[in-house]
């Protein structure tokens, strides 16, 4: 309980279900854009960053809207 209060993301356990999906999607997407593994991995890291940023913006937007209701 104390741990969850200190680290709110740990309490939102369901958010961790997104992590394997982000990894899989970014790796597969990057691998369909490049052939060499040395190019796939950096591209996958960038795609994962973009997905995470998009999710964070969507989360912030929804949190803002719900706070106004």
């Amino acid at each position: 309980m104390l741990l969850a209060l200190r680290f709110p993301l740990l309490a939102m356990a369901d958010i961790w279900f997104a992590l394997p999906l982000i990894v899989a999607i970014s790796l597969v997407y990057a691998a369909t854009r490049h052939e060499a593994m040395s190019a796939i991995l950096p591209r996958a890291a960038r795609v994962a960053g973009w997905i995470t940023a998009f999710m964070a913006v969507a989360f912030a937007l929804l949190a803002f809207i719900s706070s106004r209701l």
Partner: protein, 207 residues
Amino acid sequence: MSQTPTAPKPATAQAGTHIDLKDPVLAAFLAWLWPGAGHLYQGRRAKGVLFMVCILGTFFYGLYIGEGRVVYAAWGGTHQRWPYLCQLGVGLPSLPAAIQTYRVKQGKQPLFSPRFMTPPEVVVPDKFRRSIQTWDLDTEQRRLHRYFEFGTVYTMIAGLLNILVVYDALAGPAFEHEEDDAKNGRTGTDPDDPAADRPEQHRQTTS
């Protein structure tokens, strides 16, 4: 081998590099049937293993958290299972659902467990159009709660990702030409590929 100017070039040739796709149609079929198998057939081992691990891992994890209920084929009755169209993209691992539905409709016992990939309700296509209840969707959705949705999403995404993989097996990687031009001042190389300028065993620069 000469090509006429109007003949459509494969994507790999447009990219200025050549990857041996062997028989692309067979490779695409294999890629659909078992994610990564098409690339292994083409000798693109690293990508084949990557696709296999990512897509099958996603699919089977979704199936696991949904306890085998989230992949099923239902049509013709009151309940249509549209996510199955996406799940079908993963190929062989999703096909038991079609077999289960077919067998139950024929009045036979399901091939696997009666709750594994069987539809919750099957309408038997006889003159009475009987409805057979194999398991209760409402009860299972209440019991599994959000994991039913998580499992559905995981398995759907696995199927959709495999469509990208099938295209990659059929036509090679979709290099982004405009970005290549801007970065390299030329066409046809993978901008982030450090090996793009030197020929490898599987990669030969086309003339």
